[in-house]
Symmetry: D2
Subunit: 254 residues, 4 copies
Amino acid sequence: MCLPFFIVKPNYKSNMKVKLINYTPNPIETAFIAARTCYSGDGPEKLWELSVAEDENKIPDEKMHSLLDNVIASGHHSVLEHINFTFAIEEISRACSHQLVRHRIANFSQQSQRYVAVKRDAFVVPDTIKSNPDAKIIFDELIDNAKKTYDKLVDIGIPKEDARFVIPNAAKTNIVMTMNFREIYNVCQIRLCTRAQWEIRELFWKVKAELSKIDELKGLADYLQPKCVILGYCPENRSCGMYPTREEVLGNDS
Amino acid sequence: MCLPFFIVKPNYKSNMKVKLINYTPNPIETAFIAARTCYSGDGPEKLWELSVAEDENKIPDEKMHSLLDNVIASGHHSVLEHINFTFAIEEISRACSHQLVRHRIANFSQQSQRYVAVKRDAFVVPDTIKSNPDAKIIFDELIDNAKKTYDKLVDIGIPKEDARFVIPNAAKTNIVMTMNFREIYNVCQIRLCTRAQWEIRELFWKVKAELSKIDELKGLADYLQPKCVILGYCPENRSCGMYPTREEVLGNDS
Amino acid sequence: MCLPFFIVKPNYKSNMKVKLINYTPNPIETAFIAARTCYSGDGPEKLWELSVAEDENKIPDEKMHSLLDNVIASGHHSVLEHINFTFAIEEISRACSHQLVRHRIANFSQQSQRYVAVKRDAFVVPDTIKSNPDAKIIFDELIDNAKKTYDKLVDIGIPKEDARFVIPNAAKTNIVMTMNFREIYNVCQIRLCTRAQWEIRELFWKVKAELSKIDELKGLADYLQPKCVILGYCPENRSCGMYPTREEVLGNDS
Amino acid sequence: MCLPFFIVKPNYKSNMKVKLINYTPNPIETAFIAARTCYSGDGPEKLWELSVAEDENKIPDEKMHSLLDNVIASGHHSVLEHINFTFAIEEISRACSHQLVRHRIANFSQQSQRYVAVKRDAFVVPDTIKSNPDAKIIFDELIDNAKKTYDKLVDIGIPKEDARFVIPNAAKTNIVMTMNFREIYNVCQIRLCTRAQWEIRELFWKVKAELSKIDELKGLADYLQPKCVILGYCPENRSCGMYPTREEVLGNDS
């Protein structure tokens, strides 16, 4: 399958950091031997040795990559679950993290507002507010106010876990996220869509950008696309314009 | 197993509503025939007919209930997954809902702050603040302020999904939650613990209270207990005092 | 979305029984109020009361059904997880059950070969063997042989859990399966495909047939289709002929 | 927590191979920074840098390991999900693999009997049969018979996916399994129990043995124990004798 890679990177609007800190070594080899084990008389230990060999017996990279291309194109994605990625995600809003943790096939460890005191500058400002001077003034006032109220509540003995009830959604949070490649592929279909909330969309663009930097993945990151690119049409009622709808492409009767 | 049911109900501190609106009919029969299928030459269809029969062939309720008692006591809990419960949960804070949706073996449908405008009175007040006049005054001021700022931001054209960045954690939210009995049993062990945050603890006390009202469950709700009651000791480093620690009960070497 | 319902029922080839024994009452209402809760200022308890009301306040069935049509067409499937179905599945082969339990978002309780003795006639005969007299003779001989060997091993004191090592894949097994509608929808895309193994394909045709009988579902079962019908093209390398491939429909570059 | 490590290794009874081929690099550091992120004002990227630093700023190994000891003892296990292990598992019976894949929080890629022809010697012999000459003779005859019948069926044109219906449970299979440390910890509690079927018990002893060889894990594998060791008592109705029951330890009323 040859996907069009014209999807342009959005203008990043926040200071969030998404840093890949750890991942399954030899990712292509791992998914390859999982796929081969299903259809081979050879055991996975031997397949593994051949895939990571450093002599002339090594299974050529092109062969492994080509099998994975085929696996992804034809939808047999379970072998992609063997490849895991761990990200350090910093300075996203609690509005965004609340959405993020709804993805259930992933592991999250999140900074606790019950135990960690909120800092003065730890708030995300949406771009629509940053670029609107009137909005920015009242936004800053409220945030400042909230922070002062939080500090006062803690000062007069309210536990942090209750004082945080005044903290706005804009509050920044940190998360460690481990997600396998199959789930990243599925989540990107939803969250790279132009209809996704801007912050979580930015988050998964950065996830994709991090994966794109890994030479060992040999272009696997290119498959991370909004669902319209994967499907060949937009499945929503109304398209954002990037792709025609299902009906426009396939007609009414299919 | 005979569990001590002296665990006292906490004083409910909020106005949250937890209403069981739907559940698997014939819950005991469903779990019973699942358990019997594992060890019987009879098929589940026949077992089902016998368990719901209305004549003298009916498997006696006591027999079904006694098998489930044994299943729960000995830890073979997978048959409890066949029983599902759907709850209408209203007026919990977004602080609480953010914790709640971390439980991954459950289905949630939550009110969206991207689409639903925030109402004036839709905020949870923690009891420590409600009962402290100084705290209550500055809390109310901030909440009022946040609501006014939100309204102004929407008025000057900021999209709701961005205006909500000023909305505090105290904002109320609604959720529909479906969870199976095995997972409710597991989650109660964690969330009924006195160390759990008060709001989610209250939520699962109300979950338990709702299940206690169902005659058909024949006392299955009694098994919903904090982990110390299940284990016979507190596994935390320091106990809240209700139960001795593992070390105190079992000694250092086991 | 208007799906073509011309997919013909396969000729059932076995005696497997798939019987829906239990399901979430008011399934349409349950999914509807879950979907409405996301976008409504009203709480789910009130929405539930309106959806199941028996007076003029009742939300019309057409309105609920039409919302769910839209939900399914546009891919926002999480609300379908609140509807659960429990099936009594009998007389499938252990070859089939081994495939079936690979679906991880479901609950299974399966007859144990460690504890339940294998019966004389408890074997599935594939159609290709049934319809080939030469094959049938040697198949029957082997099965008969296996059964006799099993009995002898048990007689001379081998535990059932080890004697069963001689039992062929054809051995029948029983399973109780609970699966939610979202997962049934996903699994049908894979298992109703003509490339799926005939036995598990038959199993999910019968799952679909059972759901089709429920008036309360108001046609929701019509959405259970192989992936080509859902997508509008076959995503495999080679199509079975029912649908053209992705490339044939959309061209090479998309 | 100081667990008694007197649990003796069972006599391995089969030729199964369980080989750890891949795992999350820096496993202790990964779980540590996940745990620290929850309670720290520092972001996970900085914590990661400090945990893997090679100068005097490095967080000492003892500190990381001691935090994880505490995490495991007190039951806060979610941070252990960030550490993944991939195993090449060879020559287990299909009886064993059918049990294995019931664990749903793991990723499996298994050799297909639909596509891979069964080899002559590819059968597991249970020890109770191997050590009983009478049993061994009739077992071998049946297996030989089954293999011959399979070959004949394939010869006369029966598809492999149907011919395999005569293949006994003893048939060997290969699987690639990725499982995170939290789930390995949970599964070992069940499968290392003396009541578990011998083959899957052996499998998880070998899983534990593989993890014990990794210096980087710094003894984390010692925590992999049957549930009696973890709990301090046997939760089953009757104990195998290694540990007293719950009632014997805690009395009837708790």
